[in-house]
């Protein structure tokens, strides 16, 4: 099915099942520990050996020699695989560095060997016996010093310009010119990358934790040099991904190589201390923002330049992305530069681009508002645009940013905020409020599904879509139930298997809308087949209450499958609506913080997000997505930083004691409001994504609240107390 004209009324609009705050249907499996996660597929196979990955001890250089003899002789060891013994390996389309290093080493903790043994402990002990003789090479590890002379970010990320930015900025009566720093971030999901691999002849099955089944199946085949048809990838349950599991990592390839060498299934979970340097991360940025405005606050010039770094062949953190679209202004300039850094490879993490981009832009807007002496919400309202500012002929499909900010201001008590910072005291706490706009583009991806009506009337949906904790199972079941006119419990959803039709997968907050649209398409086909079978006109037959009705006729749905199940498969594909209309999601984040007047400890007191993101398919699951994202945004604002040791070239704080993420005590009451909205340009579901919108702008709202509380402006994330101390007045 092709979606190339705006959606009109369709069965989803009944909202009998879709749009309800439904408990997730996979919840009981998870709360009882019965959901089979990748490392624990006791249901799928037995006699599994354990693999343990050894990471490189240097950041850049080469391996002169590897002695695995002691490891091989260690108790319980079945095999040791290194680049020397692995045979020829390719590299996946979505990987920058090789997943098994040697002789060249590209980054710290790049895998250099895997030990396979009867037990986990034996494999780990033996890995420590491998002696690797390295030759270090000089690397580049410091973005700040690599920044000058860094080339443009490449043809996929061209610079953009409208009007004459330089002149307009020079002429502007009010100017802001500041530089903001965001550090490298780790996904730090609860479940590490984990895989069980098993060979049957030349056919490989991997049970793994992966967000993008089809991409990753292709990359497994490409890396191992085997036909794609010989790879089955299974990933039904995922303990958090946040972009870290969009691609295959060392666990998949080394489990496959280990299993081949050992002649047994092998399981590998990347040990936590390896996660931070072995896998991907959100790259650090240096962002310069210049905004020129008239005295009454109209933006006349807006420029955003961002520098980030990656290994050769990698990509930039696209931190200027939102600035192209968020505010009006006739003269515009966006530039991205990409330095070569020999740190672990950078890649997508929840809202790549916008998350760090808004951490800078939305502080800049706060600063500009103060310069102008206007309320930061009013400044945003004043510079709202309903069209793409680079292509004014291209309207937004929906844009309710102003409503989000106004609603939030009202609910949050924004009017009580003191415009002058450092004025509100509650006991030992200096209290402040901050706001930021949330913005994240809405992406649509082709997505297919297979739907089957069984004899019993049960509907079974199969698609390789993944549920990374988001609620995909539930919204897909809701979609099928709505389309086929059956109650939710009459739908079975099977996900995350490469033997199912290829879906959009989970990433870029495209999963919910795209995957349900694919299920919609398949259900439209199934409805046709069912109606035809029952002798009813498919165009006007109505599916409800487990029956198919037309005029006076009403037949049980199950009757259509009395002889044999009916199967329908289709995909939703997209036409030009994303070109003719800019599709984005919007929100407003409101934060109140307390800053200890003596020690500068920062604690969030209240958070509110107001989101406008099309139809909300399941308000309960969507709320969970947004509060999770707000929590992640709070972490980015206050504590999360992969610290680079610029001498050695690695992230030093590579465990969860060193890389702090928020704990319960850090997160107070969080409120989420969804504006009532449908977007007929997005898909027949009229939905968009919220999982990334929720993090976009949070960091800036926190930073702005800290400024409002203290009068100290910090432009280098995370905003930790040491950065406030020196400028904080001594108070009694």
């Amino acid at each position: 099915m092709k979606f190339d004209t705006p959606a009109t009324t369709n069965p989803i609009d009944q909202l009998k099942v879709v749009g309800k705050p439904t408990d997730r249907i996979d919840g009981p499996l998870k709360t009882t520990g019965m959901a089979p996660y990748a490392y624990e597929r006791h249901d799928a196979l037995e006699n599994v050996a354990y693999g343990y990955v050894l990471g490189s001890a240097i950041a850049k250089g080469s391996i002169k020699a590897t002695d695995v003899s002691r490891a091989k002789a260690a108790p319980g060891v079945l095999t040791v695989v290194t680049a020397q013994t692995a045979g020829k390996l390719g590299k996946g389309d979505f990987n920058t560095a090789k997943l098994l290093g040697g002789p060249d080493i590209q980054h710290y903790h790049q895998a250099v060997a895997v030990v396979v043994a009867e037990t986990f402990e034996q494999a780990r002990a033996a890995a420590a016996l491998i002696k690797v003789d390295y030759e270090r090479a000089k690397g580049t590890f410091d973005l700040a010093s690599a920044k000058d002379g860094a080339p443009p970010a490449g043809k996929d990320n061209p610079d953009t310009a409208v009007g004459d930015f330089d002149k307009a900025f020079a002429d502007a009566p009010v100017k802001l010119d500041e530089t903001y720093l965001t550090p490298d971030h780790a996904h730090a999901m609860m479940e590490p990358h984990a895989t069980i691999a098993a060979w049957k002849g030349d056919k490989l099955t991997v049970w793994t934790a992966n967000q993008m089944v089809a991409w990753s199946r292709g990359d497994v085949a490409k890396t191992l040099g085997i036909p794609k048809d010989n790879v089955r990838l299974v990933s039904p349950y995922i303990g958090g991904g946040f972009g870290g599991k969009l691609f295959i990592r060392a666990d998949v390839i080394l489990a496959a190589l280990g299993a081949k060498a050992a002649g047994r299934p092998v399981k590998i979970a990347l040990q936590r201390p390896l996660m931070f340097n072995n896998t991907t991360h959100r790259p650090a940025t240096i962002q310069r923002i210049r905004i020129g405005a008239t005295q009454d606050g109209k933006i006349t010039a807006i420029g955003h330049e961002s520098w980030s770094g990656d290994l050769p062949g990698g990509g930039p953190e696209t931190a200027t992305q939102q600035t192209r679209l968020l505010y009006a202004g006739a003269n515009r300039m966006m530039k991205m530069k990409l330095a070569v850094l020999d740190l672990p490879e950078g890649n997508a993490m929840r809202a790549p681009g916008e998350a760090p981009g808004l951490m800078a832009l939305e502080v800049a807007i706060d600063e500009l508002a103060e310069k102008l002496g206007v309320d930061p919400i009013e400044l945003r309202v004043l510079n709202d645009t309903q069209v793409d500012p680079e292509k004014p002929g291209r309207p937004f499909s929906q844009r309710k940013l102003i409503e989000c900010l106004r609603t939030g201001a009202d609910k949050f008590g924004w009017a009580k905020r003191s415009a002058r910072p450092g004025q509100v005291r509650a006991g030992r706490w200096l209290v402040g409020m901050g706001v930021a706009a949330a913005f994240r583009n809405n992406l649509v991806m082709k997505s297919a599904a297979r739907v089957r009506l069984e004899k019993t009337g049960r509907i079974v949906v199969e698609t390789d879509m993944t549920d990374i904790g988001t609620g995909s199972y539930t919204i897909i079941a809701q979609t099928a139930a709505e389309m086929m006119g059956v109650p939710l419990h009459q739908v079975t959803v099977k996900l995350g298997d490469s033997s199912f039709p290829v879906s959009a997968g989970s990433g870029g907050q495209w999963g919910a809308n795209s995957s349900t649209a694919g299920v919609y398409a398949a259900c439209v086909k199934l409805r046709e087949a069912v109606a035809t079978k029952l002798g009813l006109d498919p165009a006007i037959a109505e599916f409800s209450d487990g029956r198919v009705k037309l005029g006076n006729q009403s037949l049980p749905l199950a009757q259509a499958a009395a002889d044999a199940p009916i199967v329908a498969e289709d995909a939703m594909e997209y036409g030009d609506l994303t070109k003719t209309h800019q599709q984005s999601t919007f929100g407003g984040h409101f934060v109140e913080v307390g800053v200890d007047a003596a020690t500068c400890e920062i604690r969030i007191r209240r958070m509110l997000a107001v989101c406008a993101a099309g139809r909300i398919l399941n308000p309960k699951a969507a709320r969970s997505q947004v509060i999770g994202a707000m929590t992640m945004g709070a972490g980015a604002a206050l504590m999360e930083e992969l610290v680079v040791d610029k001498r050695i070239g690695f992230f030093v704080n590579h465990d969860l004691a060193g890389y702090e993420v928020p704990v319960h005590a850090d997160i107070p009451h969080q409120e989420v409001i969804f504006l009532d909205e449908t977007d007929p340009m997005s898909s027949p579901m009229k939905a968009k994504g919220v999982g990334e919108l929720g993090i976009c702008g949070v960091g800036a709202a926190v930073a702005n609240a800290i400024y409002n509380a203290t009068g100290v402006r910090v432009r280098e994330y995370p905003v930790t107390l040491d950065k406030l101390l020196k400028d904080m007045p001594v108070v009694a």
């Binding site: 002990a125 420590a128 504590m639 001498r647 030093v652 850090d666 040491d722």
Partner: protein, 316 residues
């Protein structure tokens, strides 16, 4: 993790004597730190002696009006003990500021004193570390040092001691009771228990090979207002950037010790004497001789400010 033998000791003296037979031997109680270190092969005992059965889990009154805390009393139980809460509030508060509920349920009084630094370079066996391999060099110096020590450091090591409990014990003038392999017992003042790194940062305490902690004794209550102020980047489950333990009397006299700034809980008796003169004087004496890096210099300002906050808290 390397292979090791495991045994359960029946008496403290037996445990000590068993430990003396192998220089790599380690006692295990709660295991909240040791097991992590063994998995990373930072600790590689050939012999593990389980002391959990030694019945050292009582909190008893001493003859001179103090408290004798068995080495195996769990942090949770110690923090909740009525006598501790009433007379040694700073200790209860320090305990509750540490780790998480689950860890406190396992962690013991002696184990808490013996936990090792959280320096990230210490935890990464690819990085040279004088604590792990004497003479190998210190990777932290010149590297990421935001959480590192500013007082009592050496060219060999700038690690901190991570305990909160020990800071309170220091301000309470606790003493550590031990038994040696030959059965001889002794009492070590807490001030002398933890060592500064010097040239031997791998030697962290005054304990001799095989020597087992049996109890920690608190002198009779000194009264006063007790406060423990722990400053950290997140609200819970994080090590202190700086912590302050204080006992303050109505006449302005009192005691103060700092955590998160040195290889041991940091107390300077002369600084205690300066308390009536105010925070500025106390800080000057307490922080005298500090040696900072660009990343951890903030700890001096923070310590002074945290001290002020703790004093205010104690007075309120």
């Amino acid at each position: 993790m390397k292979a090791f033998t495991y045994e359960r000791a029946r008496t403290p003296a037996e445990a000590a004597s068993a430990a003396a037979k192998d220089p790599t031997a380690r006692f295990i109680a709660g295991g909240t730190n040791l097991l992590d270190l063994m998995k990373l092969e930072i600790e590689t005992p050939r012999r593990l002696i389980d002391v959990n059965g030694l019945r050292l889990d009582k909190i008893e009154a001493t003859k001179d009006g103090g408290l004798r805390i068995g080495a195996l009393v769990r942090n949770t139980d110690l923090a909740a003990d009525k006598r501790v809460r009433k007379d040694y509030g700073v200790l209860s508060r320090a305990l509750l500021a540490g780790a998480s509920g689950q860890l406190r349920n396992k962690a013991t009084t002696a184990g808490n004193l013996l936990q090792r630094t959280r320096c990230p370079y210490f935890y990464d066996t690819n990085m040279p570390c004088n604590k792990r391999t004497p003479g190998a060099g210190c990777s932290a110096i010149g590297g990421f040092t935001r959480s590192h020590a500013v007082l009592g450091t050496s060219e060999a090591c700038i690690a901190t001691h991570p305990s909160d409990m020990a800071v309170a014990m220091r301000v309470l003038d606790a003493s550590v009771e031990t038994v040696k392999p030959d059965g001889v017992t002794r009492s070590i003042p807490i001030a002398d228990f933890h060592r500064l790194p010097g040239n031997t940062p791998h030697v962290e305490t005054a304990l001799t090979p095989g020597e087992l902690i049996t109890a920690v004794t608190l002198p009779k209550p000194v009264g006063g207002m007790h406060a423990y102020h722990k400053v950290r980047d997140r609200a819970s489950y994080a090590f202190a950037l700086v912590s302050v333990a204080t006992i303050l009397h109505k006449d302005g006299s009192g005691r103060v010790a700092l955590g998160g700034v040195a290889h041991k809980p940091w107390r300077v008796e002369a600084a205690d004497s300066a308390l009536p003169q105010g925070i500025k004087s106390v800080s000057e004496l307490l922080l005298a001789g500090a040696k900072t890096t660009s990343q951890n210099a903030f700890k001096l300002t923070l310590a002074e400010r945290a001290l002020g906050a703790a004093m205010a808290q104690a007075r309120s």
